[in-house]
């Protein structure tokens, strides 16, 4: 089983969610994050004091899926989240040792 974490732009969330749902994925978890990367931030100034705001608000989408689903999940995400501009974000893939559904206690792929 795999965990796919994508850092994407806020206004792409809806699209990504819909694409994943259409792709048969039934669950995901999202988190508000702030990202630092090639995309430049901005500066703000308050009564003469300047602040460089390097972190850009992003949203992290976590999808846990089977090894077979992995490629399609990544493809779907990439397609839905892409604008072609710097700052589109990254997808990180890692292995999961186990999954448990709290409600039923099912484990492994059954828990998805």
């Amino acid at each position: 089983m795999k965990k796919v974490e994508a850092i994407i732009r806020h206004f792409k969330l809806e699209e990504v969610k819909n694409a994943l749902t259409e792709g048969g994925l039934t669950g995901m978890t999202i988190t508000e994050v702030r990202g630092f990367g090639r995309q430049k931030g901005h500066t703000e100034m308050y009564r003469g004091t300047e602040y460089a705001v390097d972190f850009v608000p992003k949203v992290k989408v976590e999808v846990v899926c089977t090894d077979e689903q992995l490629q399609s999940v990544v493809d779907i995400m990439m397609q839905a989240a892409q604008t072609g501009q710097i700052g589109d974000g990254k997808i990180f893939v890692s292995d999961l040792a186990n999954i448990i559904r709290i409600r039923t206690g099912e484990t492994g792929q059954d828990a998805l």
Partner: protein, 443 residues
């Protein structure tokens, strides 16, 4: 930026020229009753209170988080900008001279305003010093363009908004205000007025219809927000909207009851009917939502209160309490449909429903004033009649045409010269960062 720099220099020159000059003759007038004066000072404060914090909270709660400052800024900045314009030429264009369509330059830079109440016949506000009448009316000059901002929220350039407001104030508000309240073409009972003139106690035409229809036009000309219909555009902070609505309600007592320009029976009546109409509006919108939406919404209840307030505005000095309840109740229902259905049907993006509430509610109020007006409240006025309804409708028509035509021209010019809309990137980032380099909330 060059333009602005020149502008500010010019402004300063004006000031420098004017300092030592005597602007008004101070004549103590024992006849000014301090009770009237107090009421007008209080009312002026209340009307300013409507624009900010009131409207600033009401509107800013409805936009997305990234635009919260942008919306507040429009209200706050207009408090500064429009007040200066008002003092320099706005007041004069509204209340100077006896022209039929617009005032003159008699009072530019507030020239000739006296403290005494024994003012020459051409000046209204007999019960209080001219200066106070001026400042009270000036508060209306602020809030009216601020209302328009609801329509193009979240996407208009700040500079374009500012210039538009100055021009709109000068070329739409001033003539309208003069025609309706400056004893001009639409003033009830003035010589040669259109169909005998119309009743507008506190600004159904001047404030609400004018801003409402201009807002609709602006929303259509500037186009919908990016992601309209697909992205999540829920109000980011409805608590602000509720609190803002409550503040508008409180401030509106100054708006309507202050329009009596004295603490008299007319003010008392205006106060009462304003409250009752707001109440009935809140209630009826909540009920209609209960029926059509399954749950009474908080935004709906707040909107209903505002709709009731808008609707009673032209009528406040002319109708009795029970009709006021009816007017509010009707306004709640009609504006509910105007906001919910019209927008969906025609597909424009009047972001904060400036048209649905102020345009529609104002029109409704103007017409219903023709129905419910009674001499028992205002002995010198007419009773409700078909004829009066027609005159009211005519005034509405004039207001709509004037607002649309002039606003169209102004917006076109601005669009061609400096552009109305911020960049796509700016819109995505939000007005706060893009236009002001600040953020509303830092966690």
């Amino acid at each position: 930026m060059r333009r602005v720099r020149c502008g500010s220099v010019l402004l300063f020159v004006f000031f420098l020229l004017l300092f030592p000059q005597s602007l008004f003759a101070q004549e103590a007038d024992p006849a000014t009753n301090p009770g009237h004066l107090t009421w007008m000072l209080t009312s002026s404060a209340l009307v300013l209170f409507m624009t900010a914090p009131g409207l600033a909270m009401f509107y800013s709660g409805l936009v997305r988080r990234k635009n919260v400052l942008g919306v507040m800024m429009q209200c706050l900045f207009l408090m500064g900008l429009m007040s200066v314009v008002w003092a320099l030429w706005g007041y004069s264009l509204c209340f100077g001279g006896e022209g039929k369509f617009i005032g003159n330059f008699d009072h530019v830079f507030l020239k000739g305003l006296t403290m005494g109440t024994e003012t020459p016949g051409e000046l209204p506000g007999g019960e209080v010093p001219d200066l106070i009448f001026m400042i009270f009316q000036g508060m209306f000059f602020i809030i009216t363009p601020a209302l328009i901002c609801g329509a193009f929220a979240e996407r208009m350039k700040f500079s374009a908004m500012a210039l538009f407001s100055v021009l709109w104030g000068t070329f739409v508000y001033c003539p309208l205000c003069h025609m309706v309240w400056g004893e001009g073409w639409l003033y009830y009972g003035s010589e040669g007025s259109l169909l005998g003139g119309a009743l507008d106690f506190a600004g159904g035409t001047v404030v609400h219809i004018s801003s409402g229809v201009s807002a609709l036009l602006a929303a259509m000309m500037i186009g919908r927000r990016l992601g309209f219909g697909s992205e999540d555009m829920r109000p980011h902070n409805l608590t602000y909207t509720v609190l803002g609505a409550a503040m508008l309600w409180v401030g509106w007592f100054g708006f309507n009851a202050g329009s009596a320009v004295a603490a008299n029976d007319s003010a008392a009546n205006a106060f009462v009917v304003t409250h009752l109409s707001a109440s009935a509006g809140a209630l009826s919108w909540a009920l209609i939502e209960l029926i059509f939406r399954g749950k009474p919404g908080v935004l709906g209840t707040a909107s209903g209160a505002v709709a009731g307030l808008v609707c009673i505005t032209p009528a406040a000095g002319f109708v009795q309490p029970m009709p006021a309840l009816a007017m509010g109740a009707i306004a709640g229902v009609v504006c509910y449909f105007a906001c919910g259905k019209l927008k969906a049907t025609f597909g424009y993006d009047d972001s904060l429903d400036a048209f649905g509430v102020h345009g529609v509610g104002g029109t409704l109020g103007a017409i219903l004033t023709g129905v419910f007006a009674t001499q028992q409240v205002y002995p010198d006025g007419p009773n409700g009649s078909v004829q009066l309804v027609i005159a009211q409708a005519a005034a509405v028509g004039v207001t709509v045409v004037l607002s649309l035509v002039v606003s169209f021209v102004l917006l076109k010019i601005l669009d061609i010269t400096i552009g109305l809309r911020i960049s796509q990137e700016g819109e995505v980032r939000g007005l706060d960062i893009a236009e002001h380099g600040e953020e509303g909330y830092i966690s």
